[in-house]
């Protein structure tokens, strides 16, 4: 299979969907000739023109609001939000308007839009360009949330998102834009709410999202060398969440660590761990462990920033202790 970057995969997904459906358009800052700072959209304006690849002023609430209205009236906007951190600017339009319109209208109006944005620290971008805020969005009923973990996932999930009749927020990992993966030439879609078992194992389940899938896979490699068999599962979408697949895996392994780059408190790791405790408690041999980003604003200094997110070594260390039957309580989780 040919290999392409995550950037190219997203670009292909958008181009294919825009060719298929003339109501699809892209709107955001510097999306046209500039193709975004990450160059994900390069070449699209040349094919589809400025009426469908629409450069906006730096007005996030404004273009988000325009996308909501456009979606309500027959278009399928793909909103480009340059950094996930800018979600705070558009919260009213996303959470009070887009998320609730279908429900508040008794099902008569719908908002088929995609919000493309990103997550992830360790780019030395400091506290306002490094956050992973997907839990915030996942908290609001009416929104779907997809977290691609490779170029393959990014393309298939994007195509599904564009065809979905709801507001979907897709968070891409900024560090992964130039990473290659096998992506088929022929068309495919990845359905929402279907987790992907990346690696099978029997001793412990590592449930990981987005940027943390690779961390979990590397941890599984480390553990395998020591004779510990780790299963790695990527939920792909956290709303809807493939709870059944996660429970099934945990019933098999009886131990789990949930790894996600959002802040640990009140986050995705907490939610998934809590569901496993509620629904698989009697199958567990150890507490379900959460590993998220530290509850601090992301610092600039590389010496500090690298301490804030889970690492393969940290995951492996915690897995080792869980499998050995050692309780882990109140300790910092990322110790390499």
């Amino acid at each position: 299979m040919r290999e392409i970057t995550l950037s190219q995969a997203v670009n292909e997904a958008l181009a294919e969907e825009m060719r298929r459906d003339e109501t699809v358009f892209i709107i955001g800052e510097d999306v046209a000739e500039a193709g975004t700072p990450f160059k994900v959209l390069s070449g699209l304006v040349e094919e589809f023109g400025t009426s469908r690849v629409v450069d906006t002023p730096i007005s996030e609430p404004g273009f988000m609001g325009i996308a909501v209205g456009a979606a309500m009236t027959g278009s399928r906007p793909v909103v480009d939000l340059m950094f996930g951190d800018f979600l705070f600017l558009i919260m009213d339009q996303l959470c009070n308007q887009a998320a609730k319109t279908h429900y508040m209208s008794g099902g008569k109006l719908s908002v088929p839009l995609v919000l493309r944005t990103n997550l992830g620290a360790t780019r030395r971008s400091a506290a306002q360009h490094s956050q992973s805020l997907h839990a915030l969005v996942a908290h609001i009923p009416g929104l779907k949330v997809a977290l691609p973990s490779s170029a393959y996932e990014a393309k298939g999930l994007m195509k599904t998102a564009i065809r979905d009749n709801n507001p979907v927020v897709i968070f891409e990992d900024k560090l992964m834009y130039q990473e290659k993966a096998g992506v088929p030439e022929e068309e495919y879609l990845i359905p929402f709410g279907v987790a992907n078992v990346k690696r099978e194992g029997t001793d412990i389940t590592l449930i990981a999202t987005s940027s943390m899938v690779q961390v979990a896979e590397k941890a599984a490699e480390i553990l395998a060398a020591e004779g510990i068999s780790a299963e790695v599962i990527d939920p792909r979408t956290i709303v809807p969440l493939d709870e059944a697949a996660l429970i099934k895996s945990v019933k098999k392994t009886s131990r789990a660590i949930v790894i996600d780059e959002g802040h640990q408190s009140y986050g995705v790791t907490s939610e998934i761990a809590s569901r496993l405790n509620e629904k698989a408690f009697y199958h567990l041999d150890a507490p379900v462990l959460r590993m998220g980003a530290m509850d601090v604003p992301i610092p600039f200094s590389p010496a500090l920033e690298d301490l804030t997110v889970p690492t393969p070594e940290g995951v492996a260390a915690n897995a080792r202790r869980l499998v050995a039957g050692e309780m882990i309580a109140g300790e910092m989780i990322n110790a390499a």
Binding site: P61, G69, A70, S75, M104
Partner: protein, 312 residues
Amino acid sequence: MYRQMVRIRTFEDNANQLYLSAKMPGLTHMYSGEEAVAVGICEALKVTDKITSTHRGHGHCVAKGAEFKEMFCELLGKEEGYCRGKGGSMHIADQSNGNLGANAIVGGSMGIATGAAFTAKLLGRDDVTVCFFGDGATAQGLMYEVMNMAALWNLPIIYACENNGYSEYTKTAEIAAGSITGRAEAFGIEAHTVDGQDVLAVNSLTEQLVERCRKGEGPFFMELMTYRYHGHHVGDINREYYRSKDEEKDWRDNKDPITKFARHLTSEGIATEEELKAMQAEIKADATAAVEYALKAKYPDASEVDMHVYAA
């Protein structure tokens, strides 16, 4: 237009009574006094033209073609309401007539309205969108962002600012520096100020602007000088601390849009006083019947509580 204005006033009189007699849950905001604005504008629109409305939205909904029965059912949270009782007074929407909905966030629908106009342009439809909002909403930043884009892209939208003199419980003069129309003019948007109590003036200006929007000359901005007879919301009874009873009486007695238009109709020989009275009686009876129907109508089944969170 007379009929529609009387329908709005009658609807609001009934809604007010429902609220005061504790038959209606929640909170609501009366449109009485501003009828010429909604009617003058909506009578210049086609069914497929879109509007976005506000928390004070019953008037827009009626003017865009909604029925009493479904509206009262919605206000009372009943299954047969326009939104199956899930929206209520502040979110009433009627997509069959192009009403994209009231909005409980002040200024919250300005993006939606501009987006509707964007769709019309993108897909080559000749629909025009009217964005209703109050003077209070001119203090929201979203308005400036979307007017800027609407002007850059020549979108077919009319921003209709209903200036009723009060931003909730505060005089507009205390919250708005400079002129209202100047805000639009800064973006190169042609702006007009019109007597919002004169339905003919509102209608004639809107017809011209709608026509020009369809030709690609939009966007436009209208400031409609009007007055709300009631408080900010129905429970806002003791309001002399922000406006006097004399002022309210002056607007009701001397500037009422319905009385003013009735005078025109009779003096021009278009209708007789008897005909207008008969029309009022007929509308009153319609409203009474719709209220009675809605009071007896079914609430949504409990199984609807998690229905419509996501579209299929």
